[in-house]
Assembly symmetry: C2
Homo-oligomer: 279 residues x 2
């Protein structure tokens, strides 16, 4: 088999990039698969180059191989190549040009309509459809499938970025894709080769101790973990992004004011109109 | 690097196991990473054998390497080893004994409380917290993280199964784990070595054409795809599970009646009580 794992680092290097050399977790098993996972970075600028033939089908085979709740398979995906539609998606997403640049743009869907059609064809109704639980199953199914697609893409030297901002106007996304009732775009995914000069570095995350709890939830050490991470992310953003911003600063900026939701504060009503009453 | 990919099949074999030889998608790029993804199967019976040292930390490093919406990192995870708690989780989940058997049981959490604490420490409030959108971000973050942990586990020869049935009683799960307001268990994950004799086969999925749409959503061919898949899953379940059941039969059985939700029809109210008003 042809193994091609771009940009993977050694174990120590990979953990140091992800956590900083002062916060590396205990050493555990390691191989090239894990190195690939650790090497993930989101990329927001693409070359127009076409992908190898069959790439879409390979990514979807990986996606369909993820677990799905009770094998109900309550997700679907639309591959979008029309430049007009992609431009409209970029606009909805607050001007994310990479949606227009990338050669493959996927919209992952929470999809209860397929199972509903199947039931109706059998003269039955599905009582569980209106519930929050069932919407959650569909959204989580879609997320796990998409994550497998991302790993598959990175495994063959491609880059990706998720576009949650499609939810800024989920109704319009539904119109553009011709979605029936009971189907909603959960997020988009850009796939392609990074453009030259685009920031393409592993972003540090919170120390494991801030995220991983043993037995019961315990946040006693959290202020120290956040303080250390604030410093780390300031340095990172100073190197690669506009200005030095701590993680705390970013959280307050993104989550503090309702305008940070950029339309998504209306999502509950939009979902109801699209066939998800969230009962 | 030490590459260890158990049970991976050749490209043609892997696609035939996943789709049936009559429904194989167009050939695309292939390597050992993609073979690993295609080889996934959920396993519902475990040996008690301990995992290699550092396995938990490696899985969490993989999980934290997944994308997270705006780097807000709105998820956490609890590792549970107390046999009394695991037995209670098995009970909540409708008697899933593998929760008690597996040497590593993780509960993935949608966690808005960490960012809320951070804001309060800075004398601020996060206006976005009560919205459906923010809950969705947290649940999707958790799902993508967990899927990376699953891939990492399978990469080192371990097996897994997600336990969505923890949501049968999310409030009790919260009590057992000491979860603060704004934190909820989204699903569990068993990790371990398969017990001898446990069914451990790749389950066929719907044909790609039933799930993948080009440009716009189009379900014209769906009845034929479902009919062919019904037959495939009947054969599979006849070989490995109790009786021959078509996929349509399973969908109607699982989603037709409210009792299929096994308590999860109350999830909306439970979430509200746990700090997710789903506005």
């Amino acid at each position: 088999m042809d193994i091609h794992s771009p940009n993977v680092a050694s174990k120590a290097d990979a953990l140091a990039l992800r956590y900083g050399s002062d916060a590396m977790p205990a050493a555990g098993p390691w191989n090239e698969h894990i190195a690939l996972l650790l090497s993930h970075r989101s990329v927001r600028g693409y070359r127009p180059d076409a992908l190898p033939e069959g790439t879409l089908e390979t990514l979807i085979a990986a996606a369909q191989s993820a677990a799905t709740s009770s094998n109900m398979q309550t997700w679907s995906v639309v591959s979008v190549s029309d430049p007009v539609v992609k431009a409209e998606f970029a606009r909805i997403s607050g001007g994310q040009k990479h949606i227009e640049q990338c050669p493959l743009f996927l919209v992952f869907l929470a999809d209860l309509s397929r199972n509903d059609r199947l039931a109706k064809a059998n003269g039955a109704e599905l009582e569980v459809l209106p519930y929050v639980e069932t919407f959650m199953i569909a959204a989580i199914d879609a997320a796990m499938a998409a994550q497998n697609a991302v790993v598959a893409a990175e495994a063959i030297g491609l880059s990706t970025v998720y576009i949650g901002a499609l939810r800024n106007d989920a109704a319009r996304v539904g119109e553009l894709l011709g979605l029936p009732q009971g189907v909603v775009g959960v997020f988009g995914l850009c796939v392609g080769y990074p453009a030259p000069g685009v920031t393409n570095e592993v972003k540090p995350r919170l120390p494991q101790a801030a995220v991983l709890h043993h037995g019961t939830y315990d946040h006693a050490g959290e202020p120290a973990h956040v303080a250390s991470y604030d410093e780390k992310l300031s340095t990172f953003s100073g190197r690669f992004e506009m200005g030095q911003t701590s993680w705390s600063g970013r959280v307050l900026n993104r989550m503090g004011k309702l305008k940070g939701l950029a339309g998504r504060e209306r999502l509950s009503g939009v979902l109801k109109a699209m066939g998800f009453p969230l009962r």
